[in-house]
């Protein structure tokens, strides 16, 4: 069945204006013409009439679009001190209009919930800084308790976490580290060829890998893989009140959830880094033997002479300890401080990755600056 367009008819007789509505007043029909006519009618500064009477054609169909129009009309007319008479409308419409009149019963004072310093971004940043340092402090306290043998941490949880962030990460770490070593060998070989010193590719790859790239690549993989999963897991536990229920049993979430995860990552990241160093060197070796035609023995001897000082390897491992700590703490912190809706869970997971990677790069730079100033390089 086709719908008829909305029509608004205005007839004026002395003090009273009759507004007759006809056609189909349904949401699907456009109302541009009617709205225009209405705003023309209502726009003059002064009016010669005191009252408006509304009527509707009995054959008209109607839904909320009519009610909305009538409510708007009444509001605008009463603002101009013109009387409104709805008595010509069917009872059903009048009832619905009075429903909309009833004021909301629950008028609590929402908003103003935030404190003043939460409204600007600097304040918000300082607040989260304070929150994070508190979290870190509590973590340190928790670790001390653990060392003194008074922790609620379960070692099974720790081993499970070790497997999840250690052994399970081997495939991806292998892939990334191998390709990093391989790429560096290609890049290096082009430059070194100019000096006819291609064998130094072995030095370049091995030193870059153990000092820098091994730790960095593992940290970035871990931030995306494990840090995000910590944030998501703890965040959804918080949403489902699981953390609250731990607390009502008197089991601190810091000991029970955060400690095994952060410690596992702290111990696993250096191990993975060591593994990544080796795989990266093998990546370089692949290029050295397959593309540049060195023998593997030659390449290995060159690598060995480049790494005569084990400090090169240790410095990378020291960095990776710090990286593991950063990723674990940030991931757990973001999870534990998730708000109570699913949007904020998504945000905390994202920001756990972003913040960890940023901090990792900053921390890496600090380490390098420190090492070179102290003459450790």
């Amino acid at each position: 069945m086709t719908l008829k367009p909305k029509i608004l008819q205005i007839t004026q007789n002395h003090q009273c204006v009759d507004l007759t509505l006809s056609g189909d007043w349904v949401i699907r029909m456009e109302s541009g013409l009617v709205q225009e006519k209405w705003s023309n009618f209502i726009s003059p500064k002064s009016f010669l009439f005191e009252k408006c009477r509304f009527q509707i054609d009995s054959k008209s169909k109607w839904d909320s679009s009519l009610l909305v129009f009538l409510l708007k009309a009444r509001k605008e007319l009463s603002e101009r001190n013109i009387g409104v008479d709805f008595s010509g409308l069917p009872e059903k419409i009048q009832n619905l209009l009075s429903f909309a009149d009833a004021r909301s019963t629950n008028r609590r004072n929402f908003g103003n919930d935030t404190l003043d310093y939460e409204s600007n971004s600097l304040g918000l940043f300082l607040l989260s800084l304070q929150q994070f340092s508190t979290f870190w402090g509590k973590w340190l306290w928790s670790v001390t308790q653990l060392l003194m043998g008074r922790s609620y941490m379960r070692f099974t949880d720790f081993f499970v976490a070790c497997r999840d962030c250690g052994a399970s990460a081997l495939p991806i770490v292998t892939l990334i580290a191998f390709l990093t070593g391989l790429t560096m060998a290609f890049v290096g070989s082009v430059q070194l060829e100019k000096f006819n010193a291609t064998i130094y590719v072995a030095d370049l790859v091995s030193l870059a890998m153990v000092r820098e790239m091994g730790a960095l690549m593992v940290a970035i993989v871990m931030a995306g893989r494990t840090g995000a999963s910590f944030a998501a897991e703890l965040g959804s536990m918080k949403l489902r009140e699981e953390i609250d229920s731990l607390r009502t049993f008197g089991i601190p979430a810091m000991d029970f959830l955060v400690l095994p995860r952060t410690l596992a990552l702290f111990f696993m990241t250096p191990l993975l880094t060591l593994y990544a160093d080796v795989v990266g060197i093998l990546g370089g070796l692949t290029v050295g033997t397959q593309v540049m035609d060195f023998s593997s023995l030659h390449y290995f001897e060159q690598t060995q002479s480049a790494l005569t000082n084990m400090w090169e390897v240790y410095s990378g491992l020291i960095k990776s300890l710090a990286f593991g700590l950063i990723i674990g703490l940030i991931g757990c912190y973001k999870g534990m401080f998730t708000g109570n809706n699913s949007t904020s869970l998504g945000k905390s997971v994202t920001s756990s990755v972003v913040v960890s990677i940023t901090l990792i790069v900053i921390c890496d730079a600090c380490f390098e600056i420190f090492f070179s100033f102290m003459g450790y390089r």
Partner: protein
């Protein structure tokens, strides 16, 4: 509120003031729970029922006032609740809040493993017994996600019972349950109350279960932000002078919409 020496109280709230940030939710909340009773916290949505419950189970520190158990105060100087007081009670959360990474047996054993000196085999026996109490015998190795809503509620109850508490706090136990399951849960509560002598504090607005299980109740009002009525719900329905309470208990809509605003 002065305590009646004849009454055998097991939990006392003393002029609590509860706030979220700057938002005051409740003030001057004082009441006591008699041993073996079931106390219902009632009130329309947004009156602070759940907030009050949070402060009683150690999740929200009151800005003023304290919760007192027989063996001491819940809130000491630190932000964390007093461990000895916490051992008095178990909590069933609205969404059950079972730990999703563990099966039911592990869920119930965890508090026992943490706080008791028992051997693993004994703990397992106790956990299985608690599950059988709530009619879930044989479900030990299922994970929470494999259970229906009603079963999750019962498993949550079993976990709340794990440390043999004297008081159980239930947050909207019948929310999201069908009438049959909700009735069964009420019967379970009554049975636990009679056979184990556990006292209950229940937050609910399910009228049928209010009348079925509670001996005593307090009624919170969102406009007054405090307790406006207390007593047995059956008595309140017929004899309360407060129109808001009578309307709530007899399930009638407000005659004048503007009074609550």
């Amino acid at each position: 509120m002065s305590s009646d020496p004849d009454k055998n109280w097991i939990l006392r709230a003393d002029s609590l003031l509860l706030k979220y940030g700057r938002n005051m939710v409740l003030k001057d909340v004082s009441f006591e729970l008699t041993q073996g009773d079931c106390l219902t916290i009632m009130g329309s949505s947004g009156c602070g029922k759940s907030t009050l419950l949070k402060s009683m189970v150690g999740l929200l520190r009151p800005s003023k006032g304290n919760i007192e158990f027989r063996n001491g105060l819940l809130w000491g100087k630190s932000d964390l609740p007093n461990q000895e007081a916490v051992a008095n009670f178990g909590v069933l959360f609205q969404g059950s809040a079972l730990w999703g990474s563990m099966n039911l047996l592990e869920n119930i054993s965890l508090p026992l493993e943490t706080f008791s000196e028992l051997k693993a085999a004994e703990i397992e026996e106790i956990a299985a017994y608690k599950l059988s109490l709530v009619g879930l015998a044989g479900c030990e190795h299922l994970y929470p996600s494999q259970l229906s809503g009603g079963m999750q509620k019962r498993a949550g109850l079993a976990r709340a019972l794990s440390m043999d508490p004297q008081i159980l706090f239930l947050d909207e136990p019948s929310a999201g349950l069908d009438p049959i399951n909700s009735r069964q849960l009420d019967e379970l509560i009554l049975e636990l109350k009679q056979s184990l002598g556990i006292s209950f504090v229940v937050v609910t607005h399910e009228l049928e279960s209010i009348f079925a299980i509670s001996d005593d109740s307090i009624f919170l009002s969102p406009s007054e932000k405090t307790i406006i009525e207390r007593g047995a719900p059956g008595v309140l329905k017929s004899s309360s002078n407060n129109p808001e309470v009578v309307r709530f208990l007899s399930r009638t809509a407000a005659e004048d919409q503007n009074t609550a605003g």
